[in-house]
């Protein structure tokens, strides 16, 4: 297993958000967390990344216990986090945004260099001298993924990437996810757009009120009308 999450409990101040959440992500998989707004998807991702460390439980990444580690250390171990609200540094150019995400090769050769990234997202190449703050929503989404990708992560946490994007851009995004998967990047996705999520994932977890309510392959979930109706309002 590349990522093992074992019984984590996470709090915001006094309010208990995650209850004994456990999940696994295997090398090369695309796994999706489904659930409505406020169910605990983002908190799960933040807990894994160390941004909101869990009070109890463990997060094991590539065999290493990373619970309670500072986010930048987790990132340097090869985990990438793409936040829901994108967080493009508005004063920096597109290229400078990428530079921030670039960790330097540190001995090993980078799989993702600027040329490959720009080849992958040609639109960003055209915009490379524009300030991040002036990009459209879809362009920002590309940049935020590119910025994480250039740090050469083995696992990317993608938090609600389709939110607020036009259908055509969502479609393009799906293409990127498929390509990243082909390149061997493991992806943990969180989504509200069930149709989109199921189309691009191998396995799914359903989070509700901070509990994992369901887990299984996408094919199984597709057939389970009861679960879909109960938790996903589909």
């Amino acid at each position: 297993m590349q990522l093992e999450v074992r019984n984590i409990n996470t709090f915001y101040g006094l309010s208990h958000i995650l209850f004994d959440v456990s999940l696994d992500v295997d090398q090369g998989e695309v796994v999706v967390l489904l659930g409505r707004n406020g169910a605990g998807k983002t908190t799960t991702m933040r807990s894994i990344m160390g941004l909101t460390p869990p009070k109890s439980g463990r997060v094991i990444f590539k065999g290493k216990d990373v619970t309670g580690l500072a986010p930048f250390r987790v990132a340097r171990l090869g985990m990438g986090f793409v936040p829901e609200d994108r967080r493009i540094f508005p004063d920096l150019t597109v290229h400078a945004n990428l530079e921030v995400g670039h960790k330097g090769s540190g001995g090993k050769t980078n799989k993702w260099n600027y040329d490959r990234i720009y080849g992958f997202f040609p639109r960003l190449d055209e915009l490379s001298n524009r300030r991040g703050g002036t990009l459209s929503g879809g362009e920002q989404q590309m940049l935020t993924i590119a910025r994480t990708l250039i740090g050469d992560p083995d696992l990317i946490l993608l938090d609600e990437p389709s939110e607020g994007l036009a259908p055509i851009v969502v479609k393009m995004l799906g293409g990127f996810i498929d390509t990243m998967k082909r390149e061997g990047v493991t992806i943990l996705l969180s989504e509200q757009n069930v149709k989109f999520a199921l189309k691009h994932s191998d396995r799914a977890y359903i989070v509700d009120n901070g509990h994992i309510k369901y887990q299984g392959s996408v094919a199984e979930l597709e057939k389970d009308e009861d679960i879909k109706k109960r938790y996903l309002a589909v």
Binding site: A70, F72, G80, R87, V100, K103
Partner: protein, 294 residues
Amino acid sequence: MTIQLFIFMLVNGLSHGMLLFIIASGLTLVFGVLRVINFAHGSLYMIGAFLAYSLSTLLTTGTLQSFLLSLLLVPPAVALVGFVLEVLLFRRVYREEHLLQLLLTYALVLILDDVVRVIWGGDPRNVARPEIFAGSVDLFGMALPTYNVFVLLVGPVIALGMWLLLYRTRSGNLIRAAVWYPETLGALGVNVSWVMTSTFMLGCWLAGVGGVLMASLANIDLGIGMEKIIESFAVVVIGGLGSIGGALLGSLIIGVGITVLQLPFGRWALVFPYAVMALVLILRPWGLFGKPER
């Protein structure tokens, strides 16, 4: 008032403005990244000035070597004090509310100012100018103090240096990124605490540079920290919190304003920074170069 006297005052005002810029830019830089208004910034500047004084008593005072040596050694020493303060204290309050942050820095003012008094005493001191700056230069038939002209020129050099650092280096990118989303920066593998510590140290280094320059510009005493922090406040408010360009403009307005207005108004000119500060806050609270927060 003759035109010559006016130019004389103007040059004087500009050199004071540039000195103020060096100090205020440190304050605004620290605010931009750390979101803390550091009241103790003036005290750090004062420590720089007194360190320059002490160093000059150890060396042959009035020589260029001694001046350059203190310019080389004192600012890093102040930055080191900043390092200790950031790691031990500031770090703990970034998530707290404004009031507690301000009180923390105010507590530091009380402590640092008193430490300076205990170590150096309350008498005014000054450091002899290195001899090549001791004289005056002729400009439009007027004798302008060379040292003031020198300070006037250091300002733009520092401004250019800051601009290059912030806009042409990776470190600068990291600092400007940390202004917006420190957390995201961390998730990208950047040690944000270190970015913050370094920024704070850079701010303190600037205060130290200001202190060294000030020590040879005029008398230094226990009041200079307070005087400059209030002026820097005015500068930062005028320019917009966190804006370096704004700090440059604000410094020139305050520096020139105080100096030039002294001719017709005497000591009443000291009211100027407060009046401008109040006026800007009333008319355009986010400053001339800043942006409204919503």
